[in-house]
Symmetry: C2
Subunit: 458 residues, 2 copies
């Protein structure tokens, strides 16, 4: 280990107590983005982050207005003209604290108990954001940072980032980088380092079926008219085959197959059937034949019914033959599926299978492709080595089943890949009462990021 790297690590250890006090100061700011009563606190949190960046010596720090909550930007230019550039992504907003009565300590009065800091946002993601900033501080105070940095710290992640795509599109000049470092992620367990290497895409649709001109009496007309709710069920039932595969024509054509090496890697994840049964509470598992649950969630595309509505759904009975039936359907996509193509595949399916007894239409709600970091990319290797340097074992590569809008937006708008990095834990109570941060893991996270910055240029 080079002397300077070791000085930075020493600095991080010696300053742990102060880092924690600064994190507590940030957690005390109730920056709930979804409720207007917290507006002052949102502005205070943005200002706090901007001050941190200025204190670190970042340039051009600015709190940039959007149609919603502000985005904090800034940058660091190192002296080496060959240095890589990273776009550090984070968010300063947090989930609402409800239900308040279930918190053992007030959500915005951060409290240390044993190895944990309790408080709303401690893990998601004020702790993760500060791990990044404190790693940078540790290097800058003891050495030179040989990486260019740009910052994109938004305030609307917990609202679904409604104004972020527009902000990225209009501010590409100040965001340009080789790769984004998204700090809003986690690892599998305190002794189980892992890196999320892909997120699935999303193609969300609403199918609307129209039968008779208005709701009919099911006695007077039942038997002579096709019931749109029945037709909807038949169409949806046909969207999976007996092997649990999606039947939209061409759905799997672009799906990148899993290599044997990737399957072996995924088999090492602690995500077996028993795990999925326990966390979901489902009576039994289900999925595409020939794949493990972790592969089905991480590396295979799906089609889910997110909502169904037709006819009378109140208490008791009403003998209506509905005029209308609606389903919300969404597909999770994997590389290299294209949301626009999946939309066309759904239309093809309906054109082929919808009977002429109904009219139908499809509304598109959202679409984003999957994103996967190239497994041989230098930044990924640098992060993997950093984890091994801290934990003493290689991290597992994990594929995430969900979709992260900013990852897809940076890819789509700027062609920028993302490295997902973060040290949250599955039992941190994200979005729930008694959210907490595991402090030993947090400290390892800071150390991992110090190693990462050094590995990038060594």
């Amino acid at each position: 280990m080079s002397g300077n790297r070791s000085a930075a690590l020493d600095y991080a250890q010696k300053n742990h107590a102060r880092f924690l006090e600064e994190l507590k100061a940030l957690v005390r700011i109730a920056s709930v983005s979804t409720e207007s009563q917290y507006e002052t606190q949102m502005a205070a949190a943005a200002a706090w982050v901007a001050d941190q960046l200025r204190t670190l010596g970042m340039n051009d720090v600015a709190v940039c207005p959007t149609a919603g909550h502000s985005v904090v930007c800034g940058e660091y230019r190192c002296s080496d003209p060959q240095a890589p550039t990273l776009l550090v992504y984070g968010h300063y907003d947090v989930q609402p604290p409800d239900p308040l009565e279930q918190w053992e300590n007030p959500p915005f009065e951060p409290t240390v108990k044993g190895d944990y800091l309790f408080g709303r946002g401690a893990s998601d993601m004020k702790g993760q954001l500060l791990a990044g900033l404190k790693a940078i501080e540790s290097i800058l105070k003891t050495d030179q940072l040989r990486v260019n940095l740009r910052f994109l710290i938004e305030g609307e992640e917990e609202m679904g980032s409604p104004n972020l795509a527009a902000f990225i599109a209009e501010n590409q000049h100040r965001l340009q980088a080789d790769v984004a470092l998204n700090l809003d992620s986690g690892i599998l367990a305190p002794d189980f380092p892992s890196i999320t290497v892909s997120v699935r895409g999303l193609a969300y649709f609403e199918i609307r079926l129209y039968g008779p001109a208005s709701d009919l009496h099911s006695g007077t007309f039942g038997g002579a008219v096709h019931n749109p709710a029945q037709v909807l069920c038949e169409l949806i039932a046909g969207m999976h085959d007996a092997q649990g595969r999606v039947t939209l024509p061409g759905f799997y054509d672009r799906v990148r197959p899993l290599s044997e090496a990737e399957r072996a890697e995924m088999a090492r994840l602690p995500l077996d059937e028993a795990y999925y049964l326990k966390v979901t509470g489902a009576p039994a598992l289900y999925g595409e034949s020939g794949y493990t649950p972790a592969e089905r969630v991480g590396a295979r595309p799906t089609l889910e019914v997110n909502g169904l509505l037709s006819g009378y759904t109140g208490e008791g009975s009403k003998t209506v033959l509905p005029a209308y039936a609606m389903a919300k359907i969404s597909c999770r996509l994997v590389p290299d599926q294209d949301p626009a193509e999946v939309y066309q595949q759904l239309l093809d399916y309906l054109n082929a299978h919808a009977p002429r007894t109904v009219r139908w239409e499809v509304v598109q709600h959202a679409g984003s492709p999957a994103a996967m970091i190239a497994l041989d990319r230098a930044e990924l290797t640098a992060l993997s080595q950093a984890m091994e340097q801290v934990w003493g074992k290689k991290p597992l590569y994990k594929r995430e089943g969900g979709s992260i809008p900013v990852v897809a937006q940076l890819q789509q708008i700027m062609g920028m890949p993302t490295i997902l990095c973060g040290f949250g834990l599955p039992d941190d109570n994200l979005h729930a009462p008694n959210e907490r941060l595991h402090l030993p893991t947090w400290q390892r996270g800071i150390e991992t990021l110090i190693h990462f910055f050094y590995n990038l240029t060594s």
Copy 2:
């Protein structure tokens, strides 16, 4: 024609104008049963009907309280110990008049225009009820009535008769009769006399499916867990085969086949494909192979989806994998299906087809068997002959697709069959603005009922 019968018919013709004035008086009473603001008018209508019965010379006339609106009872005992006994059924309540702005005349200010009397309840069923009472008056004023009568005139038909079954069960002694004469029916067209000889039964269920313990994120878990909304669609899709037949095991075992004579009779009904397309506005018709639309609605059982609900059904998108899915399903039954057996058939189907990835339950909401009058029954022949005597042509026998609670209740509680008789027309705007009564048909109805009473004992 016997001299006395002809005197009764003469009386009915000569008194037409007064009969109409009395009907207008009854229509003026806004007896809307579903809204509490009309409570006084409901009591006034019951009193009006009771006064009519007393004026006719009926005995033991009483306005009998129930948990809801009152039932008017009364009886007539003729001197002939061999005379048959009829239970005359009607209702004095009407539908709400909304939307008021679409009425050309105020709904409770009865107005004659051309051949029609306009007003809420003119056809459904104050006109039909008075046709019965005025036929009785015409005979009693000119001759002797050789039939025993009992009356059951309820005030909650437009609410679904919630208190009628209890009333019938507790008052069997005052309702006992050979057959019920239900005046709440209609004919196909002014020149198309018809008699409804059957109504379908009903078996109404709610199917509830439970998958994961709570709603899941469709990204984090989609692919590894069976989606209850998808399972529900698959189960419902399997409830019909490609011929439009219901697949519940044993569903058709007790269905009484249509005889060739009945099919020929039904083929004469003006209920062809063009008719059903026009009145439903459906893009195309549908139904069980091998049957006409009229047969599918009148003489074949069905299974309809009355409601579907699962997951997120609001605006836009939410990426939820629902924990729960619900369908309301009802079967229309024909003789000799048994609602309890159909419930068991549904359980058998679900036991055979529901996957072990979900838990399920079925709630029963309502059940009543179909009712059909024996086609060789003397009272039916008497009514058919009466129509032929008035119209100069035989009426068609029609099977009604809907269910009439009181018909099933009298059958179930007292074993009493029902003759359905009435002279409403399909374009009377029942339950709609500008409800109307076709006065020439109404007069023929009074004459038909006079003939009917004579035919019963001749």
